[in-house]
Subunit: 219 residues, 2 copies
């Protein structure tokens, strides 16, 4: 797919604006495991994911993490251009969870178009509203749902993303997604194992009873 | 103050747009304690607070609450017009914490202007970014901060809003702000009382040692 078809607001821009984007457009490859931190990236620009997977997360002073959302093929990352919005008062970090190919629309070019074009500004509004909704969903999960439900939901999500019930993932990584401690995840997974729902081995969690995880998640 | 001076984007609109807003503008008074729920209000419009205080919160199925932010004089509530953004996928409720005078710009009028005017659309972006930042701040509080710090911060905030150290507030209300249970708040406040930091009486919390609360909050 080419950039023009992938970028949703393309047709609503005029020729001059389209040229300004194409002239400044950057393509970039991120190796799996690459981390981008706010100070380096908050003025990078809009990231449009050609293929791959990004995890957007927050970090505490003490190194704890929680995933706030993930981005997949054709998703757009707005917070990597957060310096163009004065009212964004928080910092996030981004990790490439898979090898990722990106188009980058640099902040300066995008900001200038957003200031001229109501269509681009409203598109940006919808992008931000979508991410805001992701975070509100997460807030409700954290506030009202017990951890067994959140771990079940996470394992099911992983299985769906990877297309397999054999997940190569450590307890530490699960803890970092869910904003808790490794020990807590280990305890929960051992409980699931004792119930015959999963099987644990070094660096892997194998889902044996998907339906049971679905039941816990919905309970 | 008149509406024209209070509405930040006013001068960037053209005459026709200004007239469209003034023709549709509504003023409304909310009595302290009035609750607005999403189904009734998500298409109300932008609320501009002439004077008063609103609390925006989320509600669980089981009736638990957590305050996501508060709005004061000259603040603008965007989520009361959330139906104009397709990507807003969550519901909030609003409570007038004091008698509140509002201007309401109905959703239909505002949406039409946002579609024409890049200035209005970008202003909406900044509004949403500010609320998104409030929620991210809250998320970090919940994830990384212990409850003693959050209760201390809440009592100090209340004292600052009300301009007094004698807070007429129940343990239940504090619990609803912070998304926890009344019993948990009662236990925490009794601990603060045993340390001589506050004094508890029926329906009131009296702050005796403000500096101690500040120390706990920052610890």
């Amino acid at each position: 797919m080419d950039f023009q078809s992938a970028f949703p607001v393309w047709k609503k821009l005029n020729r001059i604006q389209q040229k300004r984007i194409l002239d400044s457009l950057i393509t970039q490859k991120l190796k799996k495991g690459t981390h981008l931190y706010n100070e380096n990236m908050e003025c990078t620009g809009l990231l449009l994911i050609k293929s791959g997977q990004l995890r957007v997360y927050i970090l505490s002073d003490k190194g704890r993490e929680i995933t706030i959302y993930r981005l997949f093929d054709m998703d757009i990352c707005l917070l990597s251009a957060s310096c163009m919005l004065n009212s964004i008062q928080f910092e996030v970090a981004i990790e490439a969870e898979k090898d990722t190919d990106l188009w980058i629309i640099p902040t300066k070019a995008y900001k200038s178009i957003m200031q001229e074009s109501a269509a681009a500004a409203n598109y940006t509004n919808e992008l931000m509203a979508a991410r805001f909704s992701d975070v509100m969903w997460l807030m409700e999960e954290i506030m009202w749902k017990s951890l067994d439900k959140r771990v079940s939901a996470f394992l099911l999500e992983e299985a769906s993303i990877e297309g397999t019930n054999e997940l190569n993932i450590t307890h530490e990584i699960i803890a970092n997604h869910l904003g808790t401690h490794r020990e807590v995840i280990t305890r929960m997974l051992r409980y699931f194992q004792s119930e015959g729902i999963v099987k644990l081995s070094r660096g892997a969690v194998i889902i044996l009873e998907k339906e049971e995880l679905e039941k816990i998640q919905k309970a």
